[in-house]
Symmetry: C2
Subunit: 373 residues, 2 copies
């Protein structure tokens, strides 16, 4: 093993050695972050879900951790920068290291594509006994990376497709949930940050959810509706054994993906019986430059034209929010008021946590069991 | 579309906005890096394969690009740091941003697990017409992420498994190439940096390589031989339709993975007829602390005991190197001298490029066509 261990250092060929962090006195109960890179002592999850960070930036004047809130780091005797945050909520959170104004990923953490760049992720453990989002000793499905040419985007793209345990050894056709990431994310979001396969494996093993395929698409396209209909849907229905009809087709999305979902299912209700909209709603308040509330008008008009049809067609129309601290709170509130005025039925679920992945994992965990039943 | 575009900014919820880089005068022929993050102008590949970088680090005293060699960046009028490197060789290279001594990934680039941390990658275009490593309009296989419990490592782990186009719709059994990453990398290395599925799709479409399954394992384990035999091999042979015999089994690896491959196939030659060792060889020079040349002694003894058997058993024993600038050059040279002295036959191929992914892609591209024939 000596040779192998040493080989990590000797044969890595990266123009530098791995940062070796000296240990500090760690209180009992402190554990390295599950999102940390092998061999790194930090980040550390402290009792009460505070997080300790330590970074090597010998020449820096100011080093901060951006975990939604900015934390100033202090330089220790060894010249390394350290800080301990306030308690964090359970589950996955993006964070950044800010070194003299450069907002970068923490070299000690795993990187995830989010916030329109590769960001660091910290995973706060769930309460003792809550294993909904952990890999368990149950039958596991697979996640396939599929390359396809998008005529809409004019480029080769990828999608990730979950197939449940037993898919290969059956001739059965499966229903499909198509699920969309948020702004500044891509097709890897639901696979990595979302733990989609783990959530479905656990729900299916408990017979809470029916076995289903989940297609995780890349929503970064000039025209989601066109790309979905002309490029993504045909690829999934050709490459996998699916029940290719509305009764066996669901579309869900978070944030930006929730708007894509709304626009898609209201324009083409004949294609979907199941809909999930997480932490979203048409942008109706705090309007960014160039955006007007009128963006939603054509969709409200379609709903007004035949509310009974939409209520009949959508067996599940599930809206979720991360509580009042969710940045989409007002958009969703105004949308629900409009739905109520028009007479569109929906199911609403709210869990605290804001506009974050813990909320979206919970949303998928609650949506999957009511699909295709 | 306005709402969607704006939603990227409004609904990203990352405690900060995407860095907006003002354009500089760009000469004709300059192109953004294929490894860049959507919407980022830098890095830029300049004519002659020089690379232009620009980074926002307003408060920094010193900012550098580490691309094997360190390049000092200069601050422009806008306070952004810029530099242009010397010409780079074609293909994938790791690089880092060094901000006042903090060695981090470049927020404008894609991140890859390598060098024992998430590192930035820059992809230098291949010469006009060389599409061996690009996605082409040919039948595409899939890459499946498979979770399994390693009794050896005592944890849940992942492997990525390439299945060729047509796998799902046939009842045929396929041969398997098991392929290992290098030190400081993991199971994602051959999928992302290595472009394994693209290389195989292209070779199989040209009928240069036989259709095969490629299993990309995680070599970060206390005992690779034990984990391979007790955990990985059984999972692949249970989860996929494989010809489970030595005639249809190959093992290859780069750098640290090459040492794992050597140790495995020499201890268990009965299990493999095909072997690939890229940029490797037992550590025999520039010995790191704790490593002695004796690490290889037991394996040389096994070879000496029955060289004819190994020569008969290994239909392909393929060694490749990235030329004299490859950091494993001496290890491989000494190993070849020892093989020659013992009378062990091997095929040797050398391509310039050093200890880098362009060399390993080329090595796989040349190995795959001589497997299972």
């Amino acid at each position: 093993m000596l040779a192998l261990t040493a080989a990590v250092v000797v044969l890595a060929a990266c123009g530098g050695k791995q940062q070796q962090v000296a240990g500090i006195g760690i209180e009992p109960g402190e554990t390295p972050s599950k999102q940390g890179v092998r061999g790194r002592e930090f980040p550390q999850i402290l009792p009460g879900n505070r997080v300790a960070f330590r970074v090597k930036a010998p020449g820096a004047k100011q080093v901060q951790i951006d975990l939604g809130k900015l934390y100033d780091m202090q330089q220790n005797e060894a010249g390394e920068w350290e800080c301990v945050t306030e308690p964090q909520s359970e589950g996955f959170h993006y964070y950044f290291l800010v070194v003299d104004g450069a907002r970068v990923a923490d070299p000690s953490a795993r990187a995830y594509y989010g916030c329109s760049q590769f960001s660091s992720g910290i995973e706060i453990p769930y309460p003792e006994g809550d294993t909904r989002f952990y890999v368990r000793d149950v039958p596991h499905g697979k996640v396939s990376m599929v390359r396809f040419y998008s005529t809409t985007s004019g480029e080769w793209r990828r999608m990730f497709v979950y197939t449940p345990a037993g898919y290969e050894n059956s001739s059965k056709k499966y229903p499909v949930l198509y699920i969309q990431h948020g702004g500044g994310e891509d097709e890897t979001g639901w696979m990595e940050q979302g733990r989609t396969d783990i959530i479905l494996d656990n729900l299916i093993a408990e017979e809470q959810a029916n076995p289903m395929i989940v297609a995780m698409l890349d929503g970064n396209t000039p025209d989601f509706e066109k790309e979905f209909l002309n490029d993504c849907l045909p690829v999934v229905e050709k490459e996998f054994r699916v029940e290719a009809d509305a009764d066996h087709r669901a579309l869900a999305g978070l944030s930006m993906g929730g708007i894509q979902t709304l626009n898609m299912v209201i324009s083409h209700p004949e294609l979907f019986r199941y809909v999930g909209v997480f932490s979203s709603g048409w942008i109706a308040s705090n309007l960014p430059a160039g955006v007007t509330p009128e963006a939603a008008a054509p969709y409200y008009d379609m709903l007004k034209a035949r509310p009974a049809y939409y209520n009949e067609q959508f067996k599940v129309f599930y809206l979720t929010m991360g509580g009042q601290e969710d940045i989409a709170w007002n958009n969703c509130r105004i949308m629900k008021e409009n739905f109520d005025a028009i007479g569109i039925r929906y199911t609403y679920f709210e869990t605290p946590g804001g506009h974050t992945w813990p909320v979206w994992r919970e949303s998928l965990y609650r949506l999957a069991p009511i699909l295709f039943k």
